[in-house]
Symmetry: D2
Subunit: 337 residues, 4 copies
């Protein structure tokens, strides 16, 4: 059986998902909608799908599942519309920028019996899943200190930053989810430091571009996340997990293995430039996990609750940065799951 997919949003990330859908033998893109009709039509054409209105997609009984790749402020409405229309839902992160709304959505989703997956694609990166498998197999014993490096190659535009929800909700949210996923728990307290060092306009719109966020878990384990909006050498995405018996680390994926040795040094290639290159495989593997879960009736690997947890950590990080203190997560999660 093939899952027929309706796509909401034909922008950059919609295009990524369309490619994953087409590359999976169990799914087929059949409909696309976008605020910009030409964008919808163009993506639809590429995959022999139809451009439709949002309502038409929701009403079309032939469509089994929807992918929400539209702007963040539409996510919750579409999740709820999707499940009410009886469709499985795959929604890009974040669930929402507002924690209360996200928690309310979680309740709504819990009340229906439809699979909803949040697109934390990095969980499906082969290097990271290899690291997690080794960790879960006890290869370094009990976990103690997790370190996540996550630097973008170049800062986004100020226009994007303005509507992004800020570094914690927009960028670090992936890392918050990564920490929860690797440690199999949510943290107890969050403590954050941040600065605006790259572009003073980010500061003017109330954001930072460089940050260190440290999560402490109830059993004492610690996770620390380093974020920067700029790494001149490319997308820097690394994990280090110190355990009682050693260290597991996942390094950057380089553009190639060629090394040039000259009088100027020994020069290797840069990391793959940005997420479209670096996480190509994780997007398609993540998509396959959604398709398989829906078709085979197994558990969805990233739930709305996961999305709410990451958002609550982002909220806590923001409070910590503003107030200069460690912030407890539990009160923020009250009412969720």
């Amino acid at each position: 059986m093939t899952l027929n997919i309706g796509m909401f949003g034909a922008g950059r990330i919609g295009i990524v998902h369309a490619r994953s859908i087409a590359g999976n033998t169990r799914s087929k893109l059949v409909a696309v909608t976008d605020l910009v009709p030409q964008a919808a039509q163009s993506l639809a054409n590429e995959y022999d799908a139809s451009a439709m209105s949002a309502d038409e997609i929701l009403a079309d009984a032939n469509i089994d599942a929807i992918v929400i790749a539209s702007s963040t402020n539409t996510h919750i409405d579409l999740i709820e519309a999707g499940i009410k229309a009886g469709k499985a839902v795959f929604c890009e992160k974040p669930v929402d920028l507002d924690l209360s709304r996200a928690k309310a959505c979680l309740e709504t989703v819990a009340g229906h019996n439809k699979p909803v997956m949040i697109g934390f694609n990095r969980r499906f990166d082969p290097d990271f899943t290899t690291l997690k498998a080794a960790f879960d197999a006890g290869e370094v014993g009990k976990g103690e200190l997790l370190s996540i490096t996550s630097f973008d190659p170049a800062p986004s535009s100020v226009e994007y930053i303005k509507v992004s929800g800020g570094l914690f909700r927009d960028m670090a949210i992936h890392d918050f989810d990564m920490a929860c996923w690797l440690f199999g728990a949510v943290p107890q307290t969050i403590i954050a430091t941040g600065s605006c060092l790259i572009d003073s306009e980010f500061s003017a719109v109330g954001d930072i571009d460089t940050a260190v966020i440290t999560l402490k878990f109830a059993d004492g384990r610690i996770a620390t996340i380093r974020n920067s909006r700029r790494a001149a050498y490319g997308y820097d995405q690394r994990l280090e997990l110190l355990g009682e018996k050693g260290l597991l680390s996942a390094g950057n994926v380089l553009e190639n293995t060629v090394v040039k040795s000259t009088v100027d040094g020994i020069i290797s290639a840069n990391p793959e430039y940005f997420f479209l290159e670096r996480y190509t495989r994780s997007y398609s593997i993540g998509w396959a996990s959604f398709v398989d879960a829906v078709l085979d009736g197994t558990e969805i690997p990233v739930s709305v609750a996961d999305g709410v947890n990451a958002l609550a950590i982002a909220e806590a990080a923001g409070m910590s940065l503003e107030q200069g203190r460690a912030v407890e997560l539990a009160p923020l999660l009250k009412g969720a799951a």
Copy 2:
């Protein structure tokens, strides 16, 4: 326009090419033939193609090109039948095990105006093309000493070895082509050393399993090739090119970037296990280069002459091993191209 493809041979390598054909938007597998009808049918089914006889494929005007992935002894007959039937031809290496026959085939091909490409896929490996581009751009100046490491992960069966043509024609032939391609020339003399160290049955059937072959070019440049039928840690495929200004090297592609540090050391992943993993990309890029050349009328990137050159070097290496002396290539190429 789409190139319709007829496949000769539905074994391991035929399956590799079928995947490349399907993954390319400008080509389509339409017919498959094999000595084992079920194999042909099975592969055909997978790609919505038809199982046919060889003659039917050659006679089918709807088929634009053939892929020869059948056993080596059929290569030349099929190349000639293909071009006579007016089809473009993609033929797996080697052209033949017999140099005279291969040279005769070269003449036949020259007499027709049909594109014929030999499947030296490694030329299309992204790491190797990056290295060659850097070399051709003069990044290490004039080339002096090329070193090719090419170790299989585990020895083939003696049954295979018997019909393989021997290590030089079967395995090192890729490396001979690599050396010619990187240096843009054929060598002047060949000198080889070899042993049977892994499996004494290889020796019983007249073959070796470990070898060093050194090629000297007319301008003094040297290329040295190290071959082994066994590397317990996986497929070892590396290049080093020393030039006047430095060294370019292409390393192994590892299975993942995860590193485990324990009391036992710092442990990285092994190289990708064998050619199906390591050269997946090179097969599809090589295939695309064939399709593009045929459809766009541009030059075929690997000619039959390239195949003959590599085979002649293999012949010379065999003579050198047997006679304990440096062997000139020119007399062996006489009559070719």
Copy 3:
């Protein structure tokens, strides 16, 4: 001219310094004192020096400089006695465990005109000085985010921990100095997270064994330090400095360059096991910098003020850990420098 040295303390670290003194053509160990007379005699014998009492050393006009390698609680008294006796002083870190006493000592030292150096040896590690030189030369532009990894190979005994002053004053203090040295400034605020994960007895004596401390500088630059009392794979001592134009990193020094590739992976040697191996060179280079400064009348490279700064940061980290908030450094430094 040769600097004649009197050594206070013939324990592990005294032995290290004795070796540096002997290895330097401009210094000579002439006297040793220790609470355990045999220890003093034994070390003295090894270097043709004399075992003396502390008072004898201070009174000996032939002795130009003293090295304080005795227990931490004796440091300040000996610094002050040394400079009053007209001797140059090299004192192991930390100045003291008590910040007020250390600040008072700073005043005393300022009142005399005698060189006093604090033994933050890591500043002299060749890899770290290479990194700093590259940074100071602007190779990655303006600094933004410094990350220091500092893991001991194995936890100290609980007996040691009890008198150590705690992880921040005993272990992280090196990293605090490293951050100040690399950024050429003291931080504005300190925020710390810590746990006792390795040995619950550490917790019983009021200490932690795993920590992340983040320093924010007045201009927004951030430094983050990761500490653990245990890294099963060896002493883990790394720096990463992200700047506007790239990243500078200094990796671990491995025991050797041998790599073993087998079916179990690609296995490199561990980092050098602990500080005696890893920082052998930094101890001797640091010592040479002291000798040269004293003999040539140039500036001492690590001042008592540097020691006070690092201690104040440790104090702030302790307060942050206890109170769950960011702590300002300035009030703690009041009265210093």
Copy 4:
């Protein structure tokens, strides 16, 4: 007891040995001689030794051992004079440029009961001894294919080349000894390829600057050596040993561990520049092994026979290059050992 040393030759390599002698608590440089009296005096002064004539050194009963660091053509005469004078002898490689003379010397040495060591220092390099220990411990099983990379950073002067004995006797001789030492045997046949690519003046004086020499051992094991007089990135000294269970490799020692990542790539430090840096440790460890053997009466780790073997291989390589054929070693060794 301390070994009193008389040094013949106060040039570059004599200075290296003088440092090793001084750094060893069981040896003391007491006398130096050189054709250039000022050179002898200068070196003698540095170590509180005396400048003497060669005859005075040989006659001085207080001198236990001599180091021969004078020009190659003096080696054999001094070895013989030394042992006849009852002294232990440490002689720089090569024994001589003439194989017959070297074999005659071997006989002379055998007739006396005095320890004579040849200075193949690389056997004592800690990375190489670690590799050999792992190999001897069976960590990769039976050896199959050894690969030695040995590139100088920059070509010597033509003046030096003229008297050097040529690339095989002067440079590759270290690698020949390395192969024999690692495999614990001398090869059966030698086959060599070489070119003059770097400096045509080398060719004018009958030498080459780039070479590949392949050694085949009686049991089929193969060793291949790659030599170049120029590697723009620094001294390239690597080993790879393929065995039935895997690969052991020893990499270059880099100048530091600092890595700079920028838009131009990920840039590591170069290998240590040349042998004085790279092999500092091997010279002092090798020296210690001589001192220990002499004082403790244990076996000398590198014998004159080892020096003759390496020289015979160099001779065979030269014959192979000239005649374009594999050359048997046995006839060349006839009369030796």
